[in-house]
């Protein structure tokens, strides 16, 4: 039993199933992505019980009873969150593959540090690889949220 973005799901799952595969393949929530097989890229980042994690380094069974937040939960009834809008405004995404994980890392960062410095932003997304943007506009977008608040 898990709660994902406010919806409850109950599934039988093999012990060996990784959380990311469970969420993508079993629950059909394909917003979170897979960019590596060694826990480096962060494309699968989710917030589990309030903590930012890479869901490829967690078994699905470990999340039993947990509250999970993924990119699908960021927008509220079709309205982009301020952070999502900032990513678009600042051109912080190109192919968009790293974006869901990047948004979850930024969300976690801004919750614990609403007004991060450039260095803090970079430290906060260090675990998320982007091959398109060189991070320049991603950092801009996240910083702009800080200035906004």
């Amino acid at each position: 039993m898990v709660d994902v973005n406010g919806a409850e799901y109950e599934r039988e799952v093999d012990a060996r199933r990784l959380l990311i595969h469970f969420v993508r393949d079993d629950l059909g929530l394909t917003g979170s992505h897979i960019g590596c097989d060694t826990g480096n890229c962060g494309a699968c980042s989710m917030i589990v019980d309030g903590t930012l994690v890479k869901s490829c380094m967690m078994l699905a069974v470990q999340a039993d009873g947990a509250r999970i937040e993924t990119v699908e939960g960021l927008a509220e009834n079709g309205e982009l969150s301020g952070l999502q809008q900032a990513f678009s405004d600042k051109h912080a995404l190109q192919c968009g593959y790293c974006t869901p994980g990047m948004l979850m890392s930024a969300t976690a960062l801004l919750r614990s540090n609403p007004n991060p410095s450039e260095e803090e932003v970079r430290k906060g997304i260090q675990g998320n690889i982007c091959r398109c943007t060189g991070y320049v506009n991603i950092v801009e977008a996240i910083k702009s949220m800080g200035e906004a608040s």
């Binding site: 494309a43 927008a75 995404l93 190109q94 430290k123 398109c132």
Partner: protein
């Protein structure tokens, strides 16, 4: 961090044609709304009822004979649907066609290894099961018996008498070789005051490693014998040209469908072997099959960028620093199979003299196979390797002759007033102002105060260095260049297609021939259309992605080689112009006037004389599509306009290897400042500037984003990203642990600047851009060499310089200078 410097007086070659309307504005990207919500559709997001998952059994050997493959144990496993082996592939398919003349022409490349494996990770068999995990379990049960053979890992030894031969049918490891000789090199040597000789430079293997790995979901329609591939192939047209003959079917039996692609950078062009294996499995098992490539597979067995050795380099120089050309022996390592090669053996010639006025050039080019991952085009394909070489040459010559690298560049750059400029091999550089770009870059990194900063760094025990990377991003290929490699090839010119239609409710619908991977095609196409039809980009629906059965496309369609702004948008503009004409024609019939009396504005067709008299687009769409009684019989319009953009090219001269190989040349001039810790060799990029000139910028924000991305990839390639192999042919950096790409903390503060030298040759004055020519690699190498000057003048001989290499240069500078000499001519 990003600082954009608007030039004092923007250069626009096409005077009196200022851009207005939506073109040139940073309109919001149409792609973003779905992508920031995780609602993009990437191939791996697609499911089918009862689909099976494919897992490939891969070779642990770099080179071995396959004695036997036994799948029986795997097939005994519950919910294993079936397998495929090389023996089946050899019966069911023909080898993929090769572009090369012999020996390369004789190399046999199949979907799975047949009889022999030639690189670690090469697929030997495939198994399909009900879950991903089970497929991998089953793959472990497939028993392959190998007889190991000696691997060839060093391209420089490929032609030795005792070198193992990878492809016995070819009888040689050489794919293609040829000599390019332009101008008169010997005369240049005679004219020069010095000749600088460099023994060897090495451009490392690396790749852009798109974050989304490759893959496909394949369905086979028994009734029609047709395959549908939901995938992330970035060049379906060419993919089909490879796949259809191999599968012995007509090309229309292959339908490629893509929506969102998680980056490609050229690395998703050579997926045909995997796709053919999946097609065979889908047909054999009569079931949808899905293959997801994992990162380790992508690094070991998909596509690397070309590794290249530059040997016996000679550069004639006059005492004032004027360089008259160069001579070099290039050995290109394409890995185990040619695939897209030997095109890399000619692509470099698009930028033969780099940014310079060098007229006398002799290149002896050889491409060989080795027991390593095959290569494929990688952002900056082949030009990047060559431009790195030209920039290394400039900096080595400058430091050996005690000349200022800035002055030497300015002295040798093609001058602004010389455009359009014809290179010694007949390429035409369309426009630009390299010296201006360099000045802006130097200003951005505070070049004037560099000596003080060097001293300040020294006081902190650091070695500071500054370096320049000047490159060209050549775009819109003349495919006729392939005939310089193989006169029998039937490719030339270039084209791209788009359709623009006015639908029944007045909706404007655009389909593209291209296959976007994050470049914002939906957005920029809408900008162009809305300017022509007099509406807003929001009124324009550009269908995302590519569908072979839906979209307009032509043989050379795709997203590659820096060309969308020219070919893609050229096609969109042509189609939109056609539609505008038809809409005016229809409106004139309805309004009882001539088409010239009608203008399109604010989503309506209206009388120029009296804007109150107007037909909304909806009316036009409805009249022709659903309510057309009474329209004149001779009104030949469809409101569904397809246009093929075709840049004019001539066939190059095969004897002289002479001709115009590309339409546009965007400029990238970068400046980089590094600080080295001389105790450890650890260094940091402390200041960085990228100046871009891609002509008219359709969407400046997207252009700048491409500059950032290309720069980040180049910085990665210059510092840590390399694919080295051990003597057994094992890849030593098979994942993101050991293959360290730049993370957010690794990226330096980046400043950007631009000028706009509109291209006189393109519909919108725009130039293709986005590959960046690897400028960052050249700039970092130059900066490192500059910083090390005071430590025995080592020269930077490799494109990738991890800390240990810098430490070796510090410890033994002379080793890097071996064979480096300056002779009086």
């Amino acid at each position: 961090m990003t600082e954009t410097v608007a030039p004092p007086k923007p250069l626009v070659v096409e005077e009196g044609k200022p851009q207005k309307g939506w073109i040139g504005q940073n309109v919001p990207r149409k792609e973003d709304k779905r992508l920031v919500q995780g609602e993009g559709v990437f191939f791996d997001d697609i499911r089918r009822h009862e689909m099976g998952y494919v897992h490939f059994v891969r070779s642990p050997y770099a080179h071995a004979r396959i004695k036997s493959v036994d799948v029986s144990k795997a097939l005994e496993l519950k919910e294993v649907y079936g397998t495929l082996t090389g023996d089946e592939v050899a019966i069911l398919t023909d080898p993929f066609f090769e572009l090369s003349i012999p020996p390369g022409a004789h190399m046999k490349d199949y979907a799975l290894a047949v009889g022999r494996v030639r690189f670690v990770g090469e697929p030997v068999a495939a198994v399909v099961a009900s879950t991903r995990e089970l497929a991998r379990d089953a793959a472990e049960l497939i028993e392959v018996d190998y007889e190991p053979l000696t691997p060839l890992v060093d391209a420089r030894k490929a032609q030795d008498d005792d070198a193992p031969i990878l492809h016995e049918e070819a009888g040689s490891n050489v794919v293609w070789e040829g000599v390019f000789d332009w101008g008169d090199f010997d005369a240049a040597v005679a004219e020069a005051d010095h000749v600088v000789k460099i023994k060897e430079l090495h451009f490392d293997r690396f790749s852009s490693t798109p974050l989304e790995c490759s893959g496909c979901l394949v369905e086979y329609n028994r009734g029609t014998g047709q395959w549908t591939m939901y995938c992330n192939h970035q060049m379906p047209g060419v993919g089909a040209i490879w796949m259809a003959p191999a599968l012995r079917v007509g090309i229309d039996k292959l339908r490629f469908v893509t929506q969102d692609i998680g980056g490609a950078f050229g690395n998703k062009i050579c997926l045909h072997p995997y796709f053919v294996a999946c097609c065979l499995l889908a047909r054999k098992l009569n079931r949808a099959v899905q293959w997801t490539e994992w990162r380790t597979d992508q690094h070991t067995a998909n596509a690397h960028g070309n590794e290249r050795w530059f040997q016996e380099i000679e550069v004639p120089v006059k005492s004032d620093g004027t360089m008259l050309g160069f001579k070099v022996k290039a050995v290109d390592d394409c890995g185990a199979f040619p695939r897209y090669e030997p095109l890399g053996c000619i692509i470099w010639a698009q930028v033969t003299p780099g940014c310079y006025r060098w007229r006398n050039i002799r290149v002896d080019f050889t491409q060989v196979t080795t027991n390593k991952s095959p290569v494929s085009p990688n952002r900056g394909y082949s030009r990047m390797q060559h431009l790195w070489f030209t920039e290394r040459v400039v900096d080595i010559v400058a430091s050996e002759l005690g000349l200022d690298p800035v002055e030497v560049r300015k002295r040798n750059y093609v001058k602004h007033e010389e455009f359009p400029y014809e290179t010694p091999n007949g390429c035409v550089y369309d426009s630009g102002d390299y010296a201006r770009c360099l000045d802006i870059a130097l200003e951005l990194v505070g070049y004037d105060s560099i000596d003080e900063r060097r001293a300040e760094a020294e006081s902190r025990g650091k070695l500071l260095g500054v370096g320049i990377g000047s490159t060209l991003d050549s775009g819109t290929n003349n495919f006729g260049q392939s005939t310089l490699l193989n006169p029998d090839l039937q490719f030339s010119g270039n084209n791209e297609v788009a359709t623009v239609k006015l639908d029944i409710f007045g909706e404007i619908v655009v389909t593209l021939g291209t296959v976007p991977q994050g470049q914002g095609h939906e957005t920029t196409a809408a900008q162009v259309v809305s300017d022509i039809l007099g509406c807003t980009p929001d009124d324009v629906n550009v269908r995302p992605g590519h569908d072979t059965y839906w979209n307009s496309h032509a043989g050379l369609s795709g997203t590659y080689a820096s060309q969308f702004a020219v070919t893609g948008l050229g096609a969109v503009k042509g189609a939109a112009d056609m539609l505008a004409g038809e809409m005016k024609k229809l409106a004139s019939v309805v309004l009882g006037c001539t088409p010239d009396d009608v203008e399109l504005a604010e989503g309506r067709a209206r009388l120029k004389a009296n804007p109150e008299v107007a037909l909304p687009f909806m009316a036009l769409g409805a009249i022709l599509n659903a309510n057309n009684a009474g329209l004149p019989e001779d009104l030949e319009i469809t409101l569904n306009c397809r246009y093929m953009y075709r840049p004019y090219f001539e066939l190059p001269d095969k004897e002289r290897k002479f001709g115009n190989l590309t339409l546009t040349y965007a400029t990238q001039i970068h400046a980089c400042v590094v600080e080295i810790d001389p105790e450890t060799g650890v260094y940091e990029i402390v200041d960085y500037a990228a100046v871009d000139d891609c002509g008219v910028r359709i969407h400046p924000q997207i252009v700048e984003g491409q500059v950032h991305g290309a720069t980040a990839q180049a910085l990665g390639a210059a510092t840590h990203e390399t694919f080295p192999y051990d003597e057994d042919g094992n890849l030593l950096t098979p994942n993101f642990y050991d293959y360290h790409v730049p993370h957010a903390l690794d990226m330096p503060p980046m400043k950007t600047g631009y000028i706009e030298s509109a291209s006189p040759f393109t519909p919108l004055g725009a130039k293709g851009m986005g590959e960046g020519g690897g400028a960052g690699i050249h700039a970092v190498c130059a900066a490192l060499q500059n910083a090390l000057q005071s430590r025995g003048k080592p020269i930077v001989t490799d494109s990738c310089n991890p800390y240990h290499r810098i430490w070796s240069l510090l410890r033994d500078p002379d080793a890097s200078r071996e064979g480096l000499e300056v002779t009086a001519s």
